[in-house]
Symmetry: none
Subunit: 558 residues, 2 copies
């Protein structure tokens, strides 16, 4: 190396720590209450993903949180118990709330404390000095017990704006008492990224180093992710958040969005290192869906990176460019986060994505085949009637097969009749019952089936349930094929079909093979629309599983 | 004024323009297809809110968009047609796609064009010079026709990163041709706020002034709102977005979050001026819910500012602090955006909210009346079963009246029976028919009514229609009161009721007085849920219009 020119040393990446609080702050979401087994399942998924810290709850605050720490699984991630700094007028050793937190026996303990003078004096009703003592003594107590201490600086940004000197004094009290991490919280979620980054820079300039600082934001202005990134830009080296952005009010910073950004995007990818590998990143979509599953929520289609629509290309122009080169309309490859691309059918789609869609359904059609134009016209006409094929891919396939002459008529529906009755029984209780009769012709033979809508608990599931059961009760030689089918979701909306209001029903079905497919029906009559979607669901399943079709790979005349 | 000291001139605020693209880019959302009447309703709501531009769609691209421009309502906002720059090898005058856009006759026209060299050469397959000519000639053409021109610079940020000189040349071509606005688009949604702001600053430094620049971002990294704010910080003076963040893939920048931030937060509130007044801002929550209503979506509880959870305080500590001073845990007052605070039902604040709502329904209840606690318990239990009283104000009132002993039993339903049949007629056409029998007891007299579901055009409107007609066919002395009632909307959603899926039906009714009210019914059986909502609708109407009740102003025993 010649003197005077300084060659660059190989860049060593800064370590950035990911701290998950789904199990604690995430549980503050309205309507969310995890059971202990659910907490265990989530903790294991987080650990497999590779986060550094899993905050499990507040031991002592509620029975589920205490039970979770008793039964907590072994994890590579540091399991962390959350609590609050000791109260004034007693020692850390003699504070029972703090003792319950320590008793969880975790290697790391995070304690929330006040840093906003107004809150100290109004909400706690203690002096500013007492609050500093509470922070210092509590953090020191954690260290004395041989645990790693984190200080969660509640209302830090609002506190700093009101009284910067005191807010910094609170951080210093924790720092001097040996806190490994000092977490700056924007508790009310109202601080915007620019202001937040400015305050973080001032904290670092005041002598709290970035590699001991964490950031904890809320999404009240839809900026939680941006605020977190702005804090990292300013030097913070621990980011806190939750899966799917769970959390009180509008939620916490969404780790499901932050993690891929930090791993895949500059300037983060080449300057920071996390505990999450590129291989583990592919689990992200699955982990996100698993959480929705536990919460019994419909996953948010529009969710960044992991949503079902995140790589869905609707516009015709976009869709044809995607076919040439995915980078034209995708910011990352969906596979990196375990997601996949969707090019849905819609009246804005062109022939090229139609061919692609058909090919995914196993239907190879030559370019410029006149059937393509007919299929597109038919879709357009049906969408004008109120149909929607964006999600109902199975009904789309059936429509295309019909135009291509590849749709066998497995059976014919001759008629059906459904009755819904409500009356008072002899005990003057209101009882209701639905009954359906379906008549089909299979292989020249007429078959009558009847079903009623009562489930195992004796409650009436309504006319669509009765109809579904009757329709799938006796389809002759096809019966064995559809026996593992079940209806998993049923969506209804009133929409415009031509000039009048019609009902659109979308049915999701599943089978024993783990397949899941959607079909659509439209009619002014909701029962009729449901029947149409049920019929499509069965026909699609028969095409997939009828042996004659399987063998040839195409559809033979049945 | 003494020489040497410069007193500050009164700050004049910069005008910031809000450009809504819910009806165009918002329609790119998977599963979203607005009808023309829906587009008109949304445009009117946007106009009442005070946005500056309403982009209505792409005339010529699909029948709905063309129909909307034909029937577009008069608005204070500038109605804008979207399209693309002319294709190469023909003049702007002779491009039929552009002609269809111009023919919509809007005062403003926004044309998308390429600015990324790779897209020009790969996707369009034309030379870089041809693309510049397409931009310039198309924008000039708009001006020649006396319209305001906007240039939508597709893929601008990716284009700038690849070839800054060419990307800027594209903007200059539009600028020199007279574009009022040049909109910088992050089409793939992958640019982060810091990088985006840096590029915007360079564009301004290169001679395109900020007050002619717009910003259009997508939410693929959950930073669309932050990117928009970063662009405004850098000097851009038009922001584009959609209501509720609708849009392709992960959506566009969410105007529902941006608007309150720009109006209420610094540095924006004191330096920028929009067309939205503080009074109109109070409509925001309502407008957001209306859009979900049109889409038959469950409103996102966690949505910033407008979500039902946005000001919900779950933690006990927070809730009690809120009662002392809302600023302790709220970044803005919910009332500013037309939202409201939610505090656990059990406490005093829950009861005072309830009293306010009852009073809105004309029911005055004394503080600490034990009925208040019973009503709250009942609402909570019913919400656990799947009911929702947010919109169904009429059913809420009936429930409260029942607990208060102010709900007369006008009539009793003894039983009903509905039949839905589908069969082939003698011409082998599929025909369907629904029929309903309802038995009620009025003034001790039993009345049987039967109706079928066929409308004036001879088409089957289904079982709920038949049931509604039979129920309102003969109610004895009450019949005259309900004769002017009609069912105006019917929404169905499958939701969770306890441990099982149930159907929730919300019915909107209207009468000759111009009143409109909503009722709710829940059951696993969709017909039964509908019947319950229909029944509530009639009971509410009878309470309003039965003369004995009118006269006294309260509910007498009928």
């Amino acid at each position: 190396m010649s003197k005077g020119t300084l060659s660059k040393a190989p860049l060593s990446k800064d370590r950035l720590y990911i701290y998950d609080t789904t199990l604690r702050d995430g549980q503050q979401t309205q309507g969310v209450q995890f059971s202990t087994p659910e907490k265990i399942r989530i903790a294991q998924a987080l650990d497999a993903l590779g986060v550094d810290y899993i905050e499990g709850g507040w031991p002592g605050a509620n029975p589920t949180d205490s039970a979770f720490f008793d039964e907590a699984p072994a994890t590579k991630a540091r399991l962390t118990a959350f609590g609050m700094t000791k109260r004034a007028g007693r020692s850390a050793e003699n504070d029972d709330v703090l003792a319950a937190v320590m008793n969880a026996g975790t290697g790391s303990v995070c304690l929330v404390g006040k840093t906003h003078d107004y809150h100290v004096e109004t909400a706690l009703g203690i002096t500013l000095a007492e609050n500093l003592e509470n922070i210092g003594a509590s953090i020191a107590h954690i260290g004395t017990q041989g645990r790693e201490a984190l200080f969660d600086a509640e209302h830090f940004f609002d506190g700093y704006k009101a009284n910067p000197a005191y807010a910094l004094d609170c951080l210093r009290a924790a720092q001097e008492a040996g806190a490994r991490w000092i977490v700056l919280c924007d508790t009310n979620g109202g601080t915007l990224p620019g202001e937040l980054a400015g305050i973080v820079s001032k904290v670092i300039a005041a002598g709290i180093p970035g590699d001991s600082l964490g950031i904890h934001t809320h999404n009240d202005t839809e900026n939680a992710v941006a605020c977190t990134l702005a804090a990292v830009d300013a030097g913070v080296r621990q980011v806190q958040g939750t899966l799917n952005g769970l959390g009180e009010r509008c939620g916490n910073a969404n780790l499901t969005s932050l993690i891929p950004t930090l791993l895949l995007k500059e300037p983060y990818a080449s300057t920071l290192e996390t505990g999450i590998t590129m291989e583990a990143l592919k689990r992200l979509t699955r982990v996100s869906r698993m959480l929705d599953d536990i919460l019994n929520r419909v996953p948010m289609k529009q969710a960044p990176y992991v949503g079902a629509s995140a790589f869905a290309h609707k516009a015709g122009l976009h869709a044809s460019a995607i076919l040439k080169d995915p980078a034209t309309y995708e910011h990352i490859l969906p596979d990196l986060v375990g997601n996949s691309r969707i090019i849905p059918m819609s009246n804005q789609a062109g022939q090229s994505n139609l061919r692609r869609r058909l090919s995914e359904a196993g239907l190879e059609v030559a370019p410029r085949d006149p059937a393509l134009g007919r299929i597109l016209d038919r879709i357009k006409a049906r969408e004008d009637e109120g149909y929607a094929y964006d999600t109902a891919q199975a009904s789309f396939e059936l429509l295309a097969r019909e135009e291509l002459g590849q749709l066998p008529e497995f059976f014919e529906v001759k008629r059906y009749k459904v009755t819904v009755e409500r009356r008072k029984n002899k005990y003057n209780q209101v009882v209701s019952l639905s009954e359906a009769v379906v008549v089909v012709k299979v292989d020249g033979e007429k078959k009558l089936s009847v079903s009623e809508s009562v489930d195992e608990q004796g409650s009436d599931r309504g006319p669509v349930n009765a109809l579904s059961k009757a329709l799938s009760k006796d389809l002759g030689r096809y019966q064995a094929i559809i026996d593992d089918m079940r209806l998993v979701d049923f969506k209804v909306r009133v929409t415009q079909g031509g000039t009048e209001a019609v009902t659109r029903v979308i049915i999701d079905s599943a089978d024993g093979e783990g397949r899941r497919w959607s079909t659509v029906g439209v009619s002014p009559n909701i029962v009729d629309a449901s029947f149409e979607a049920l019929l499509d669901a069965i026909r699609w399943k028969l095409i997939r599983d009828t042996p004659a079709l399987e063998a040839t790979g195409t559809v033979a005349e049945v």
